[in-house]
Amino acid sequence: MTAIIEARGLTKRYGRKKEAVAGLDFSVGPGRIVGLIGRNGAGKTTVIKSVLGLTPYEGHLNVLGRNPATERDALMREVSFIADVAVLPKWLRVRDALAYVQGVHPAFNRDRAEAFLAATDVKLTHKVKELSKGMVTQLHLALVLAIRARLLVLDEPTLGLDLLVRRRFYDTLLNDYMDEERTILVTTHQVEEIEYLLTDVMFIEQGKLVLNTPIEQIGERYAQLIVGPSQLEAARSFKPFSERTVFGRTALFFEGAPREELARLGELGTPSVADLFVARMQEAA
């Protein structure tokens, strides 16, 4: 299995000292949907821009067998990228958008894009400025879905969109885009919304990866225990890395703790990605 993205010691400095990204090591395999999750300013966008060759970086980075710093133009034939699905140039006519991508992208299938748009309210004669944010999202999807790219990179794609549009965007991606040859790297800080579609999560905080795991291993490594006040001290003896009290009941988060013993103290479960993220961030703070 050759990695789609391979990063070794990926570092990005602004100025002399400040490291926006500090020596990241990670690898993304084919067919994975990886969520790069972090707070604002944690370094998510810097990682994305390095992967796409949009910013200079230090360290080693290999994307689809290419070096993004020197082979950006060739790379973009196999990579699709959406920064903000609701942003397309306002003066662009839908028909011209299709003609443009067809003219510059060898792997664009115009019939597929038109078929996708036919099922929406977007007309070929519309200009982008006449479209609602939801419709711009549909147009963006039509363009991206019609490109046979091996890697799709999404950087906070649904920021500022309403829930309905966001949900439809991700559902379309899952249903019409994903297959075993395609890979998605997506950044967001709205964890709870995309965790159901991810196969892997990476948490980034202050330029460092604080978690990098397949979703299915979260249950093996992490446990969430909910106890009443009477069991709290006993639960704490297993050294939770984080806890949260709501309405007198406390949720404690453990890494590598004995599950059978924890189960005797209260309600044992697997933390959601969102809970795990919050717990990890509290620990780091």
Binding site: M76, L92, V101, Q102
Partner: protein, 295 residues
């Protein structure tokens, strides 16, 4: 190769979608120029009924000159309009995509920075001037036709000879424009440089550096070499070494008016030095766009 051609054509078309003034301005002004004579008042041509009084030979010369004069008028007007549109376009060319945050969309497609910048350069230096020239080639005959319809008494002059005279002027105008494109290419590259660098108001980025330098020179050296240099570059015919051959009626744009000596002008060192400077600036523009994004 055809793939590359169609890609470049796509990039050029994209510019005309965004900057509609590039093709609309010459068309609208051309259209107005055609309609104007039809709306015009009862204008009298100087010689009254020339076809009756003059001999055939002089009438032919007059109609030929009339054709030349209208073609020069039309091309100068459309050329001026095109220059204005190109000026605005250049300032916007690498700034608008950051202002409207669409730059990451353009960069998400397999189009290199060199292709993007060179397509924009081609729009400014070749496609738009050529388009204006093409409009002129259509507008001048239409104007001639409109005048023919409107002014009965001048039909002896406004005839096939006027059409021929106009069209024969076109290649000469094309040479003037080619020279202009090469001569003014440093300005074009400078405006693109301002556009790619600007955080806001690209015009300020274009004007401030030379204006500041001129002011500093005036204050500390009490001289104006830079202003003179830029002025002469903007209006090369004010230079003392401008090769103007007023004695050659054959090559003249207008008979008797003479014309520049192209042999001398096209081999002029400062013309090609300017082109080289423009090329260097364009290279810089390509490098600068590499890491431009929406921040």
């Amino acid at each position: 190769m055809s793939n590359l051609n169609s890609k470049f054509a796509t990039l050029v078309r994209r510019e005309f979608w965004e900057h509609r003034a590039l093709w609309m301005a010459p068309l609208i002004v051309g259209g107005i120029m055609v309609i104007m004579p039809l709306l015009g008042g009862n204008m009298r041509f100087g010689a009254g009924d020339m076809s009756a009084s003059g001999d055939a030979g002089s009438v032919r010369i007059v109609s030929h000159m009339f054709g030349q004069a209208t073609m020069i008028g039309v091309t100068m007007t459309l050329g001026g309009i095109a220059c204005l549109a190109i000026f605005t376009y250049l300032l916007d060319s690498l700034y608008a995509e950051r202002k409207d945050r669409s730059i990451l969309f353009w960069k998400s497609l397999p189009v290199s920075d060199a292709q993007t910048v060179l397509a924009k350069l081609a729009v400014a230096l070749l496609v738009t001037p050529l388009l204006a020239l093409l409009v002129a080639a259509v507008v001048q005959p239409l104007i001639t036709g409109a005048l023919f319809v409107r002014y009965e008494h001048a039909r002896g002059v406004i005839d096939g000879g006027a059409l021929l005279g106009g069209l024969r002027t076109l290649p000469k105008v094309a040479v003037v424009w080619l020279y202009g494109v090469l001569w003014y290419s440093p300005f074009v590259a400078w405006l693109m440089l301002a556009s790619v660098l600007a955080k806001r108001v690209p015009l300020m980025y274009a004007l401030m550096p030379p204006a500041t330098l001129m002011l500093l020179e005036l204050m500390f050296l009490d001289s104006n070499h830079l202003a003179r240099f830029i002025g002469e570059r903007l209006a090369p015919w004010t230079r003392s070494d401008w090769a103007w051959d007023a004695t050659d009626p054959q090559r003249g744009l207008l008979p008797g008016l003479g014309s520049p000596d192209w042999g001398v002008l096209f081999t002029n060192g400062s013309l090609w030095l300017g082109v080289a400077v423009a090329a260097a600036m364009v290279y810089l523009v390509i490098r600068l766009r590499r890491y431009r994004d929406d921040t």
